[in-house]
Amino acid sequence: MSKYNFKEAMNKPERLAPGHRMCAGCGATIAVRGVLRALHEGDRAVIGNATGCLEVSTYMYPYTAWEDSYIHNAFENAGATLSGVETAYKALKKRGRLPEEENFKFITFGGDGGTYDIGFQSLSGAMERGHDMVYVCYDNGAYMNTGIQRSSATPMFADTTTTPVGKQSNGKMQNRKDLASIIADHDVAYVAQTTLTQDFKDLYVKSEKAIYTEGAAFLNVLAPCPRGWRYETSDIMKICKLAMETCYWPLFEVDHGKWTLSYEPKKKLPIEDFLREQGRFKHLFKPGNEDLIEQFQAEVDRRWEDLQYKCAKG
């Protein structure tokens, strides 16, 4: 793997061109561009995409924002579709129908709806079969494309349009699914959880590992959505930082079964600091709801301890 150089990385030609129709301040496009920067110069990619914001906004006929070959098939089958593409590459190479020097990588993007929920089976199948591909989930914790409905990635107590806060409701009742761990338990080559950091190094390094490790790889990238989370567009980097500093979204990797923590906050911040910035959790700060925040904190602590245990074991 190459040594990370911020300036060099940022000066690489964009593989997701500007001019697409994603919202200002959208975390998904920042994550996608970060992942694609890790492709080595000269290597080509086929990009897969589950139906979602990213797909409908970046390839609207007759315009595409993608510099590489791109395939969108449907919502629930990005894993299976790219397995087909990757297998075709193997077949064409084997049969001498592609020049030796043609080097393709296979990367598919899906939101948490297309990944944790409707595309879960297709993802699980593709990972278990060990296709040489990377599945990147841009996790914004709800079905944002259809208007902020809860997904199994939505955190507990979030106010969404299918778990609305009301007199009888404090938002979503369940904890979020820990998908990175579930995929790690598929015994795949590489799994990592990351988000947007100020130097973009963690995302770059993990993307490069994921792309250039042979076999199936999965990246779970926290990619905030200003519409769904209800924060000021310009605050995205602050939100991501708080997700890490509170250990709501720990950074880790699982490289051929070995768990490693990528970042440990010097002082773990209370979860209120992350929740307070977002309109979807506003109701938690009403007097009388202190126990809800305690419950949230307890779950963050439990998961953080569990992760530390896995990483200590190695």
């Binding site: 080509r44 089958n77 579709t81 087909g84 075709a88």
Partner: protein, 397 residues
């Protein structure tokens, strides 16, 4: 010299796949098509062909991966039956609308419920409006012959559409009969190499597939797809003629059996055509002027050709091995009647539903149907226009 052998329908299709040696085959097991991926896997394991097999986790994924592989520039296929085809439904539409010339070996089985593993055409007919070309076989020989013709039809630049090669579950797929096979080199030269114009892995020419399309563009895409399906008819006929030159076998859009002077004709799809032909022979021996049209190509639907093939008979029995729950008959019944009306051919037409979920269909049923048609014409007795045959009456209100 053709190779003489004995094979089931599934074995025949698997053998054809081995001979064509496509690039990629994703598949998921489902009765009664399971043997096809099993046999192909065995061919691969023994080095008899080197197709890349993907053992996917569902039929939705088998069609999704087939589309992915085909889009990437690989000749691809899958096989399925019944609920497997139903699970693929969304992807069938995408294969056709993305103009993927892939192939699906369908072994026709009824759909649940009640769950039942036996033959009818509910699965294939349920996919009739997905944009696929559908070719049905009477027996193992035709299943083999049709499969060899599938890619030359699908990949023709006038077509660029997916093709479904259909055979009847168990009746054809599992019954072992004599068969004539082509030599490998003849299959290779008939099918040719796959040279797509645009594909994801094309060196130096990245492409994007599967756009979001606004109303300003989407309708033209649909019309172009429809034009391609219309154009496929002449390609299907051309390929069938070429195949006949090579083998001496086969039919174009449908087979006409003893229909030249027939007063009464039965139109039927699949293995039951064999039963109908036997009954026709029996009745002809007694001087009855009866005949059979066996439909080979259901999509594109040869409405005009069928109407004109029927114009000189007095009555037609249209046989649907499928209920379409519209209160008005089966799919074949509706489409043939519409075709007759368009051509201003006003003959008596009765739509029969038969053989659902593997119910036996015998020569006695055929005799009775022809007798009913004759009774209607000669004695002016108007039969029910839409009726089930072979039902256990006591169980049916």
């Amino acid at each position: 010299m053709a190779i003489r052998d004995r094979m089931s329908g599934n074995e025949a299709v698997a053998f054809a796949i081995k001979q064509v040696n496509p690039d990629v085959m994703p598949a998921f097991p489902i009765t009664p098509s399971t043997e096809i991926p099993q046999l192909v896997s065995t061919y691969i394991a023994n080095g008899d062909c080197d197709t890349e097999f993907i053992p996917v986790e569902s039929e939705h994924s088998s069609m999704s991966a087939t589309i992915g592989a085909e889009a990437a520039g690989a000749r691809s296929l899958t096989a399925t039956s019944s609920c497997g085809l139903a699970l693929m439904w969304e992807e069938l539409l995408l294969a056709a609308s993305n103009r993927m010339p892939c192939v699906l070996a369908l072994v026709n089985r009824t759909l649940s419920g009640p769950i039942n593993i036996n033959c009818d055409h509910t699965d294939g007919m349920g996919a009739r409006d997905t944009g696929w070309i559908q070719i049905y076989a009477e027996n193992n020989q035709e299943a083999y012959d049709n499969f060899i013709q599938a890619y030359p039809i699908a990949e023709d630049e006038r077509v660029q559409l997916p093709v479904m090669i259909c055979q009847d579950g168990f009746i054809t797929s599992h019954a072992v009969e004599n068969i004539e096979l082509l030599e490998d080199d003849k299959v290779s030269s008939f099918v040719g190499t796959y040279n797509p114009q645009e594909y994801l892995l094309k060196p130096g020419e990245p492409m994007a597939m599967g756009p979001y399309s606004v109303s300003n563009y989407a309708m033209e895409a649909r019309k172009n797809q429809e034009l391609a399906l219309e154009a496929s008819k002449e390609v299907i006929v051309e390929v069938a003629k070429k195949y006949k030159e090579l083998t001496g076998r086969g039919f174009e859009l449908f087979e006409e059996y003893r229909t030249e002077d027939a007063d009464y004709v039965m139109v039927i799809i699949g293995s039951a055509a064999g039963t109908a032909k036997q009954a026709v022979d029996d009745m002809r021996a007694k001087g009855k002027k009866v005949g059979v049209i066996k439909l080979r190509v259901f999509r594109p639907f040869p409405a005009y050709e069928l109407a004109h093939a029927l114009k000189n008979c007095k009555a037609v029995a249209i046989m649907d091995r499928c209920e379409s729950y519209n209160g008005n008959g089966g799919p074949l019944g509706s489409e043939i009647m519409a075709g007759l009306y368009r051509e201003r051919i006003y003959i008596e037409a009765v739509n029969y539903i038969y053989g659902l979920a593997g119910r036996d269909f015998t020569v006695d049923h055929v005799y009775a149907i022809f007798d009913e048609l004759e009774d209607a014409v000669v004695n002016g007795k108007k039969p029910e226009q839409f009726k089930y045959i072979g039902l256990r009456d006591a169980m049916t209100r």
